[in-house]
């Protein structure tokens, strides 16, 4: 049993600790040394080797433990005893996992759960949050009960040679019960959810108090406000050229006073209608604080109507963060800079909004005006030619 001696001699353990300490030191030294010189250092083979060796060591120690267990098991069997009761061990681990898992889940829900979005800053968002809370409570109850049953059954009914399982092929009553109960609970959720959804998506009246065009393209959002006339002018993607990056149709008089902005400023407690467009690929207008999301699809104009209820200032106080901003960002994969396609959204009082909108510049910049005067005739021609080509 020389093999066993080596393992028992604690040399291995000592070697392991020394190795770990040494390795960590080397690694720390490496990071210290490499950080001032910059990242152009090339592959740090030492640390790669360290991790590989660490893994091998763990694998070897697992193999050693496995061998010890096997030897122990065999020696027990030689003595006429039963070996390790793996069924009992697994049963106990199941129970430990249940307790640790439920504890972990509780910790996660309290700690990380509190890192989630603050209260909804829009009228319909409050309803969505109520729906969310109801669903969470119901599902958490189901989650806890079923997981407890699963793992306690595993422990309670772990294998024993003395016992036989209870032959129970079916029981119609109990099966009916647990078909009907979920059905009832889900019916309630469906009805509740259906009406919430209908309310959120309700489009009458069609126009909002403030109508804003949001257009997504790789990788930014363009925001267009209606001018003093309160009406957004028409658009046509074929007119996109040069400074007219949204393809606004300036033959439509309503377009003349349309304004461009780089922040989405919204007056509080007014119905906002976002008209959502995309130029190249699908994007998604995502404003989680307002519980607003709608895809921006090329060729399919969409919209979302909502009423913000909490100004940015108020929200800053509520979340106790003076730098807090509402955000609009892209939530549909759209290319390399998908991860950085955002606009600040600011909810302000009506007075502040009126002041702000008065300062915004029109889309029809002097540069664009000259460009269009020159190009107006050409465009007309090219469109008719396109039509002709299509008809052929």
């Amino acid at each position: 049993m020389a093999f066993k001696k080596i393992i028992d001699s604690k040399k291995l353990l000592a070697f392991l600790t020394v190795f770990m300490l040494f390795g960590t030191n080397v690694l720390m030294a490496q990071t210290d040394a490499s950080s001032p010189t910059g990242s152009k250092a090339g592959v740090n083979w030492l640390s790669v080797g360290y991790y590989v060796l660490l893994f091998l060591l763990i694998a070897i120690s697992i193999a050693v433990i496995g061998k010890i267990l096997k030897v122990y098991d065999l020696s027990q069997q030689i003595q006429g005893k039963k070996g390790i009761h793996w069924n009992n061990i697994m049963g106990v681990i199941c129970l430990v996992f249940l307790v640790a898992g439920l504890g972990g889940a509780y910790w996660d829900i309290t700690v990380q759960g509190s890192m989630t979005l603050p209260e909804a800053a829009s009228k319909h968002g409050v309803k969505i949050d109520a729906m969310f809370l109801t669903t969470t409570i119901i599902t958490l109850i189901v989650f806890v009960i079923t997981q407890i049953l699963l793992f306690t059954f595993l422990f309670r009914y772990r294998h024993s040679d003395k016992r036989r399982a209870y032959f129970l092929p079916h029981n119609n009553t109990i099966e009916k019960v647990w078909t009907i109960i979920p059905a009832i609970v889900l019916t309630i959720l469906v009805i509740f959810g259906f009406f919430t959804w209908q309310e959120v998506e309700n489009s009458s009246p069609v126009k909002g108090d403030v109508n804003i065009d949001v257009t997504g393209h790789q990788f930014a959002w363009e925001i267009r406000y209606a001018g003093p006339d309160g009406i957004l002018g028409k658009k046509d993607f074929r007119l996109t050229a040069g400074a007219n990056k949204l393809g606004i149709d300036f033959k439509d008089k309503n377009s003349m006073d349309d304004l461009q902005a780089d922040t989405l400023v919204l007056p509080v407690n007014k119905v906002i209608r976002l008209n959502i467009f995309a130029q190249d690929v699908i994007h998604s207008v995502y404003m989680p604080h307002f519980r607003v999301q709608q895809n921006a699809v090329p060729g399919l104009p969409t919209f979302f109507k909502f009423t913000p209820t909490i100004t940015t200032e108020e929200m800053r106080r509520k979340v106790d963060d003076p730098k807090f901003e509402y955000l609009l960002y892209c939530n549909k994969i759209c290319g390399s800079s998908h991860y950085n396609m955002q606009r600040v959204v600011r909810v302000v009082t009506e007075g502040e909004y009126n002041q702000w909108i008065a300062k915004q510049k029109p889309y029809l910049t002097p540069a664009l005006r000259t460009e269009l005067k020159l190009a107006a005739a050409d465009q007309k021609k090219s469109i008719t030619q396109n039509r002709l080509a299509l008809n052929n």
């Binding site: 059954f153 009914y157 996109t240 998604s284 399919l300």
Partner: protein, 627 residues
């Protein structure tokens, strides 16, 4: 040869046919038409693909955990895809795309259904081979071709496809929109067409084998739940995969021949494109018409395998066999009318959204029934913790945890804020990723003796299970909360948003948990490979199970049974029947041999049998009275 054997099974001359036939290496291991060998080919290819996809996921997890750190090793390994040791943002998207595609299609569809349908359908219904062994072989070769084409996209200049595994146009249709929409996307589409061809050939074979080639006595209600699951999965696949091909072919037209099925009103980089009149939403309808049944194609075999494994190892009949079958059928039917829940916020008519919400939440009922029935199967069982059993249990646990979050996402109102966030990532990785892969691993551990004639090491199986089980929960549970904070999926880095930076520590934790789970798979691979060559030799029925496959010899003949195919007399779940000598009764044991354990219920459509039972019980009683 095997087709011949199949048509007149039970005829004596069959055995002689075998002896004349000498397999060469090529016909035995490569171009094999034996369903058991094809199953192994699917399994090993599937495992290989799974390892590759897992490594890809570790790569992008490292990026998410350390977005500002440079890893020169990555540049050594990946070259231009990781300049200065940091992943290229477009390559990150490619990694996500290929990880998803491989896992969903190549591992959990072909690797799972392909392996276990091939292995178990003939063995468990009592057939010599599949209905069409040649098409079965073709199915594998198309699959392998698809795998090779998919992986080859890593070796082209612009890298693999990158618009996400759902490849929504216009992103996937416009090569100028991103690098991953160029050649890589073309290869993706070709690979997928090959894959669907493979899947259809397999599916048609499975359906026809189950319907036509069951042995004597094996009526539909005597089939194990595994077979029911594979059968319904195959039907789902046969009906939905062609729609994906239609969608893919139209996309190929849009990409290569200038049509406008999915494209309209497009301006890329200030350049007006000529496309008019198409609709990107059309592609989403076509895609999800397959895509949603696809997630049930992934989970139903896992459910079937888990049901079987849990019944065997609880030494107890599966609770509510009929309810289990009806819930599978319910899921199959409903899964065709729920696809719109992936599209609530795409601009689809809100009323349609409401309808899809109703159908989606209804599908939770059969799923709940299945869960409760599994729990009832464990109740008062005599549970043996084999590795297969542990994985089946893990499957149930994941199915519960991931399933209940589906109730959030299926609700259109809640989906507004949860759509495409990490909440979705957590949901489907638990319910479809983890649960299905655990079902698959349960199957591997359980039927390894049938595939290779050897046993896998149990202790390593335990280690593998606990590390993977705990690891998967550690990875996916925290993701729910990121989603609830509005953190979107498919973001290359969260550095650009002040509000997301506090999730960086969580991301680091998740990455290390993922690395731990990945390392745990080494235990599996080591166990799997060494057991094939040096494992303990298996006995004929190592788990004391009832089903037909355990009546075949350990040597695994081409044709499965050396003599006549056994007849079936009872359902597959007579475990721990009161009055029986052993705690299991094989399906091939006639009721006449088990008089002491027969129940009136066993003779439902058999009045003569019932009479015999009554006679037997009355004589027993009379005898006892005499004593």
């Amino acid at each position: 040869m095997s087709t011949l054997a199949v048509h007149d099974h039970g005829v004596a001359h069959h055995e002689e046919g075998h002896e004349h036939h000498h397999d060469t290496f090529l016909t035995k291991y490569v171009f094999s038409q034996d369903h058991k060998m094809i199953a192994k080919q699917f399994l090993i290819t599937g495992i290989t693909m799974a390892v590759i996809a897992m490594l890809l996921s570790i790569l992008f997890r490292i990026q998410l955990a350390y977005p500002d750190k440079s890893f020169p090793l990555l540049e050594t390994l990946l070259g231009r895809f990781a300049p200065e040791g940091r992943l290229d943002p477009e390559f990150y998207l490619s990694l996500v795309t290929i990880h998803g595609t491989i896992m969903v299609f190549f591992v959990l569809t072909a690797g799972l259904s392909g392996t276990f349908s091939n292995l178990l359908i003939p063995l468990q219904v009592g057939a010599r081979d599949m209905a069409s062994p040649f098409i079965n072989m073709l199915s594998y070769w198309f699959f392998l071709t698809a795998c090779v084409i998919m992986l080859s996209s890593f070796f082209i200049q612009k890298g693999p496809a990158g618009p996400g595994w759902t490849i929504y146009p216009p992103l996937s249709a416009l090569p100028t929109a991103m690098k991953g929409s160029g050649m890589g996307m073309t290869l993706w589409l070709i690979s997928m067409v090959c894959f669907v061809a493979s899947s259809l050939m397999g599916g048609i074979n499975y359906v026809s084998t189950v319907l036509n080639m069951r042995t004597k006595g094996m009526d539909l209600w005597k089939m194990p739940l595994t077979i029911w699951a594979f059968f319904l999965t195959a039907i789902l696949g046969v009906l939905s995969f062609p729609v994906l091909v239609a969608g893919v072919v139209l996309l190929i037209f849009d990409r290569s021949f200038g049509t406008s099925f999915y494209l309209s009103d497009i301006v890329v980089n200030g350049q007006v494109m000529p496309f008019e009149g198409g609709s990107p939403i059309l592609f989403q309808h076509l895609f999800w018409f397959l895509g949603h049944p696809e997630v049930y194609i992934v989970i139903m075999p896992a459910m079937g395998i888990s049901s079987e494994v849990m019944s065997v190892n609880s030494r107890k009949p599966i609770f509510g066999y009929h309810a289990m079958v009806y819930s599978l059928i319910g899921i199959t039917v409903l899964s065709f009318i729920v696809w719109g829940h992936h599209m609530f916020i795409t601009g689809m008519n809100p009323f349609l959204g409401g309808v899809f919400m109703i159908t989606t939440l209804i599908i939770a009922v059969p799923s709940a029934v299945k869960t409760f029935n599994w729990l009832a199967t464990l109740w008062r069982g005599n549970i043996r913790f084999t590795p297969a059993m542990l994985f089946a249990i893990g499957m149930v646990s994941f199915f519960i945890s991931g399933g209940i979050t589906g109730i959030f996402l299926g609700n259109a109102a809640l989906d507004i804020n949860l759509h495409d966030t990490y909440f979705v990532v957590a949901h489907f990785h638990l319910v479809m990723g983890s649960a299905a892969i655990f079902g698959m691993l349960a199957g591997v551990y359980h039927w390894f003796p049938k595939m290779f004639g050897k046993m896998m090491d149990e202790k390593l199986g335990y280690l593998h299970f606990w590390l993977t089980f705990i690891g998967a929960y550690l990875v996916f549970f925290p993701m729910h909360f990121m989603g609830l904070d509005g953190v979107p999926r498919r973001y290359y880095a969260f550095t650009e948003f002040a509000s997301m930076q506090r999730w960086l520590s969580v991301n680091m934790f998740i990455t290390w948990a993922a690395i731990m789970s990945a390392c745990a798979q080494v235990a599996f691979l080591y166990n799997f490979i060494t057991s094939i060559f040096w494992g303990r030799k298996a006995t004929q029925n190592p788990w004391q199970a009832n089903t037909l496959e355990w009546t075949t010899p350990v040597e695994r003949l081409h044709g499965n049974w050396p003599g006549e195919i056994p007849s079936v007399y009872r359902w597959p779940y007579d475990y721990s029947k009161p009055g029986a000598e052993e705690d299991y009764i094989l399906q091939t044991t006639p009721l006449s041999q088990t008089m002491s354990s027969n129940l009136p219920h066993d003779f439902e459509d058999n009045p003569a049998g019932l009479e015999a039972l009554n006679k037997w019980t009355s004589t027993q009683k009379a005898n006892e009275e005499v004593k």
